[in-house]
Subunit: 120 residues, 4 copies
């Protein structure tokens, strides 16, 4: 399905499976902040998009309740970042996803999120 915000940022779906999703984003000049380094919101948006894709991969609507993000290493313009979402728990109306964000295999950020699932 089309995701206008992902298109706006250039976030691309690489792989999607039951409870898993891999997305990529190449950092461009228009993603920089006033320091001249990539904006935390851009890196987060990649991880959040993977979170949304994986948590909705079962066909049940899921919406974000809580997320947290560790910023671990600097990234540069031209880097292609990869977010790999993995479902680490599901029970009742919530599920948990863990999402390392890597640059050429090196971890640059860590995201964890919890969704509310609209199950009966």
């Amino acid at each position: 399905e089309s995701d206008p915000f992902c298109e706006k940022l250039g976030i691309e779906l690489v792989d999607l499976g039951p409870g898993t999703a891999t997305l990529e984003l190449t950092v461009t000049e228009d993603m920089l902040n006033f320091h001249g380094t990539p904006h935390g919101g851009a890196v987060y948006s990649l991880a959040d998009a993977a979170f949304a894709a994986a948590s909705n991969s079962h066909g049940t609507t899921a919406v974000a309740l809580e997320t947290n993000m560790s910023y671990l290493d600097a990234v540069d313009v031209g880097d292609t970042l990869r977010a790999e979402a993995r479902e680490t728990h599901m029970a009742g109306r919530t599920a948990e996803y863990q999402i390392p964000v890597t640059d050429d295999g090196d971890r640059v950020a860590t995201f964890r999120g919890r969704v509310y699932r609209f199950v009966d």
Copy 2:
């Protein structure tokens, strides 16, 4: 100072003071996700921009270490969201900022962040 990513999303600085910052974002169609609701990354980017502005307001470079976000209520296209960053602790090389995000005064998300400050 110009912030390309804020310009790309239309995030606007309303007010800036020592350890405080207020920024706004009007939600547009290109910020929607595949559910047709505003992407979590867009709302986060507003809060994160306020976090960056407030934490760098003292003239000392500060970079994000950790952030967390509670998504509390739905927002719609056309809503103008407001993020008000407030410094709630500073000691040594780190500082903490709390940032409610509101829509017409109603809280729709809560963000807290910790920065690393490049002090000697």
Copy 3:
């Protein structure tokens, strides 16, 4: 109602209202870690107890989904820590609580938590 774990740690209820709770804990030698400083789990347990009290203050059972904690300043044996829980959002089946932990009025930690409420 009695809370065995609070009794075990010496956590005391100071005040309880609809969506609010104030609890206190005096740090003792048996709460120290191998550094000789108060264990993060002891400070967390105080905040978590305030979180549980405030979120269950309406008579509806609420259980913790997600919590996060910022450790801001050192505390010592003999300090009486105060956790003041405040409900900052409630909608549908979840609610959010923010809990500063202070020592003599100075903030030493910040806790935020989200609960799942067993409402029909």
Copy 4:
């Protein structure tokens, strides 16, 4: 090294290596909350103890900056919980640790923490 708070709760060190630590806690009656279920502070204290052990395993003093916890499944009196801390990133003055908490192999909580390391 002795850790009074761990002794008070009965938290036991099972294994310790460079950047890794495994600790266990058997849930007892005095760890229950007013619901009659194990207190979130007890489960957190186990994970936090593993976090402290792993982050100080290199001989450099490390103190907690930020932590977050997902509560995923109920635990009961008599359950032996296991927290396995793993260093997932280290750079400059901070490091990140991820700690699943399991009961008989099933994940019951997830903890992530960031420390400040006293390196020159």
